[in-house]
């Protein structure tokens, strides 16, 4: 390996270290509770997927800003996705809902408002129907 190659390899190693340290650190907001905290969730919300339907708790989903919420999603047939979206369409977070497993994700909402839920994984031709408008209400 000549000097130029060693220098270039050094640049690549530096990018690798910096990028991975930053993105695994609490600088990415959700890494604070996903990787760097063992905090018990304040609330637990069960979401069930079956036959192209997203079944939320009958009483609705209302959470407070700053509260740690655990979503527990199960599927009784195929793989789906639990995706939470802002009203403008941008994604807040998502996870895959694998059948035969309890799929858990914790989240902390920082902005009050209404959020939609959409299945983010293709589950058959009727997948686009899997949309629940105003599924989550976040209150201050």
């Amino acid at each position: 390996m000549d000097k130029d190659e060693k220098t270039w390899l050094g640049v690549l190693i530096a990018i690798f270290i910096v990028f991975n340290i930053v993105t695994l650190s609490p600088l990415v907001p959700w890494q604070k509770w996903m990787l760097w905290s063992d905090q018990t969730p304040d609330e637990r919300i069960a979401v069930e997927f079956q036959d192209y339907e997203i079944r939320l708790p009958a009483e609705g989903v209302e959470v407070k800003t700053g509260e740690l919420v655990e979503f527990v999603a199960t599927s009784n047939d195929v793989t789906y996705g639990l995706g939470v979206f802002r009203k403008g369409g941008t994604m807040v977070f998502q996870m895959q809902v694998v059948p035969g497993h309890e799929n858990k994700i914790t989240w902390k909402f920082d902005e009050p408002g209404l959020y939609d839920i959409r299945s983010t994984e293709y589950s058959g031709p009727r997948s686009p129907e899997m949309f629940v408008e105003d599924a989550i209400q976040v209150v201050p």
């Binding site: 990018i15 994604m91 977070f93 998502q94 895959q96 059948p99 799929n103």
Partner: protein
């Protein structure tokens, strides 16, 4: 023009059919974007096609969209990319090793099996509305109330033909490289040891086995090393997909005979790990190694300068092979049930191994061109530079999404499929393959390209079209637009889709310029001789002369 030889003719046939598959795949892409941007625009075509579709019901727009989407990557990857790779390697491997292909009879067998397999898959999706996507996430492909039964079986048979054919092709490659017609021959075991760097590792540990041939030391061209090592991934990919196909086929046949099996007997997460481990070998294994090999071959040929870092690049390819075995979890970063250490280690950190291997490959390639200045910017070299740009752009997008933190908002969005996958395939692999065609055409035919202006149209149409398309759809993904989602119309992503359609049309213009240039360079008679038996053309010529 010299008379085109037997192998050269087959190489050109693979190329011609591969390019037809590219056109089909591109046409499907434009149809899908049209359906997203203006859902009723295709009504007339759909009505006409539905009249000949062998279905027991009128398919919904969503069924048509997803059937097409399932066929699209099979035609694009296994039709276009694999056909061109097979054709090019069937010419280049014997050419560089100065010996004949070991099993010549397998060449036409490979050609016809591949065309048949891809077409069966395409028909199952486009006409049969098989819609489980190429990812075939368990248990969707065996839920026959969502995915039609008979087209599932035919799709799997088509895919199995393609995979068996890839194994036959790889066998022919390995057997040509390893055949004992020259002093540098290897047993298969020796080849594998060398490919994985075992003998080098033993030497490093102070236990050198002097009888162990090592591809790094035995002077084989670096392109052959890349083909050999990349083909290991190709074989694994084909075997894994074959196993998944057999599983789906068993469920399909059982359902066909009225004894459906329980899908929950197979764990969806274990299946997903197995499937992605194998499927990822195409994207992160052989595609990268084959591409690196082609750059290492063509850049010194086109610039007339020895490759910079020759001693390092074979090790880079070996590391890439090892890395490709451990990166599959970046497809499971959205699966919270995948163990966290697997997501961080395999999904994120090992995936960065490709940053190093591709980073060093790009460095060696660009430094070679830089040190060879002044270089003649031939069509092939321009397209190779374009493909390097494509891999750099797609690679950065890939590393951003292959991240435990950032994947939370990128997984399954258009970012993944556009900015990463399509940049890799269209700008990276596509331009590399066009570069190979531009480089091989004079070697195979001793003809110079007819029009430099058409090369310009091809180059700019393709690179601007593919980059803009990937960029705008990537931005749509960053705004939350999902892949595989037939949004109701209108939706906030329509402007992005319309720009992407325009970019696709620009690529099509570039592609047409390329076809016109190649056909007029070859001449109609030579072009026809690739698809029509020569005796027909000779008879016609005699008739005209008479």
């Amino acid at each position: 023009m010299k008379k085109i030889g037997w192998m050269e003719k087959w190489t050109l046939r693979f190329a011609v059919v591969g390019l037809i598959f590219l056109a089909m795949s591109g046409f499907e892409g434009i149809l899908m974007r049209t359906q997203l941007a203006a859902p009723d625009a295709l009504n007339g075509m759909e009505t006409a096609l539905n009249a000949i579709r062998p279905l027991d019901h009128e398919p919904t727009k969503a069924e048509l969209f997803y059937g097409m989407m399932t066929a699209h990557p099979i035609v694009g990857i296994y039709g276009f990319v694999y056909m061109l790779v097979m054709g090019a390697f069937y010419f280049l491997v014997p050419y560089l090793l100065k010996k004949e292909i070991r099993h010549k009879k397998l060449v036409p067998v490979n050609f016809w099996l591949h065309v048949s397999g891809v077409m069966i898959c395409w028909l199952s999706g486009f006409f049969g509305i098989f819609n489980a996507m190429y990812t075939l996430y368990w248990p969707l492909p065996v839920y026959f109330d969502r995915v039609p039964l008979i087209p599932t079986i035919t799709f799997i048979i088509g895919a199995a033909i393609v995979m068996v054919n890839i194994l036959l092709f790889s066998y022919n490659m390995f057997s040509t490289v390893l055949s004992k017609s020259n002093p540098r021959s290897y047993s298969f075991g020796q080849f594998l040891r060398a490919a994985f760097g075992i003998s080098r590792l033993m030497k490093w540990l102070g236990k050198e086995d002097e009888n162990a041939p090592d591809l790094d030391y035995n002077g084989l061209p670096v392109f052959i090393v890349a083909v050999g090592r990349g083909s290991i991934d190709t074989v694994i990919n084909a075997i894994v997909l074959l196993v998944a196909g057999v599983l789906i086929l068993v469920y399909g046949v059982a359902a066909l005979f009225g004894s459906p099996l329980d899908p929950s007997a197979v764990d969806a997460l274990v299946y997903k790990n197995w499937f992605w481990w194998g499927l990822d070998m195409v994207a992160d294994g052989n595609a990268l190694m084959y591409t690196a090999g082609v750059w290492y071959l063509l850049i010194p040929l086109l610039t007339g300068r020895e490759l910079v870092g020759r001693s390092v690049v074979k090790t880079v390819i070996m590391v890439d092979l090892l890395v490709s075995m451990g990166v599959w979890s970046h497809h499971l970063l959205g699966d919270q049930v995948q163990p966290l250490f697997m997501r961080i280690l395999s999904g994120q950190l090992i995936t960065w191994g490709e940053f190093f291997t591709m980073g060093l490959t790009i460095f060696a390639s660009l430094m070679t061109i830089w040190k060879a200045r002044p270089v003649k910017m031939t069509p092939a070299l321009r397209f190779i530079l374009g493909s390097i740009f494509g891999f750099a752009m797609g690679g950065v997008a890939g590393l951003i999404q292959a991240n435990v933190g950032l994947n939370m908002v990128f997984h399954n969005t258009q970012w993944v499929v556009a900015l990463r996958a399509h940049t890799f395939l269209l700008t990276g692999v596509g331009m590399m393959l066009f570069g190979v065609v531009y480089a091989l055409l004079p070697m195979l035919t001793e003809l110079e390209l007819r029009s430099k202006r058409l090369v310009d149209v091809h180059f700019w149409g393709w690179i601007v079209g593919s980059v803009v398309m990937a960029y705008v759809m990537g931005m749509a993904g960053s705004q939350g637009m999902l892949r595989r989602m037939l949004y109701p119309h209108p939706n906030p992503y329509t402007p992005y889709t319309v720009i992407a359609m325009g970019s696709g049309i620009l690529m099509a213009v570039g592609f047409l310029a390329f076809l016109v240039n190649v056909v007029t360079t070859l001449g109609w008679t030579n072009a026809l001789s690739l698809v029509v038996p020569e005796r027909w053309l000779e008879r016609k010529a005699e008739t005209v002369a008479a």
